[in-house]
Amino acid sequence: MNNKVNVIRRVWRFLKQPSSQYSVLLIAAVCFIGGIIFWGGFNTGMEATNKLEFCISCHEMRDNVYKEYKETIHYANRTGVRAICSDCHVPKDWGHKMLRKIQASQEVWGTLTGFVDTPEKFEAHRMELATNEWNRMKASDSRECRNCHSLEAMSSTVQKQAAYQNHMKSKAEGKTCIDCHKGIAHNLPKEYRDPDEE
């Protein structure tokens, strides 16, 4: 124990003392390059957690929502543009991304505690999980949808007339994508009711 304390004291003394051997420029350069390496490493690690393979490394995702998503237009379509998990569920800009990643630690906890580790548990919690995501998307004005889709970029000549009219109407009414497009990539919960089905 004494040895450990002595080592810590010696290191701290070394770090505190002004340099007598190395120039400020050299120290600054080393810090600059070290910072780049650290930042690069940090972001590489962060982006690794955005890959599809990382998401489906948890069987809860692989056996439930991933299977459903593979049947949808966001997985395979006419133009070969595929949206993966992070495209819709992780913000692109750094600030929101960091917040989401911190939030996602709850999901790690959920995996460790087996919150939805069986199909039955997953179905029992599907409405809760879906509602969380819908609320998050609504609060951000469907920010992740808008990474790829833009109402302004929709063509009235190429898009089907009814769809185009509804999109322009939603723009005028201040609606957001998730208001109408629930269930676009995963099965709707059995408890979900469309407002117009009654």
Binding site: A162, Q165, N187, D194, D196, E197, E198
Partner: protein, 113 residues
């Protein structure tokens, strides 16, 4: 003998009454689930006319029509052109399932309204 004839007639009448009901049997939950999955309610309310007619008005239109089921099943699988509420013509969305029984179930639920 007369009794047997009356009895046979009664049985035949019963079968004729029950058979149409059996032909249009449906599971409402399954029908609604398929409709939700295909965004049918985006254009058709049960009571509300939207881009397309309400389902209740569809049921009214086809009441008593013995070809109703076949016509509506074809409507959902063929992508045939439909007239929208605002008058424009557009291909109806093709339902995203190959299970004909599921499609018939949905159609029969609509026709029951």
């Amino acid at each position: 003998m007369a009794y047997k004839n009356v009895f046979s007639a009664l049985i035949s009448l019963l079968v004729l009454l029950v058979l149409p009901l059996e032909a249009h049997a449906f599971d409402e939950d399954t029908a609604r689930t398929l409709a939700r999955k295909n965004d049918c309610f985006m254009c058709h309310g049960v009571d509300k006319r939207k881009d397309g007619p309400s389902y209740r008005s569809v049921a009214e239109k086809y009441r008593g029509n013995k070809d109703a089921e076949a016509k509506l099943v074809n409507h959902l699988i063929s992508g045939e052109v439909a007239k929208f509420t605002d008058g424009h013509l557009e291909e109806h969305k093709i339902i995203n399932t190959k299970d004909v029984d599921q499609i018939k179930n949905l159609v029969n639920w609509i026709l029951s309204l």
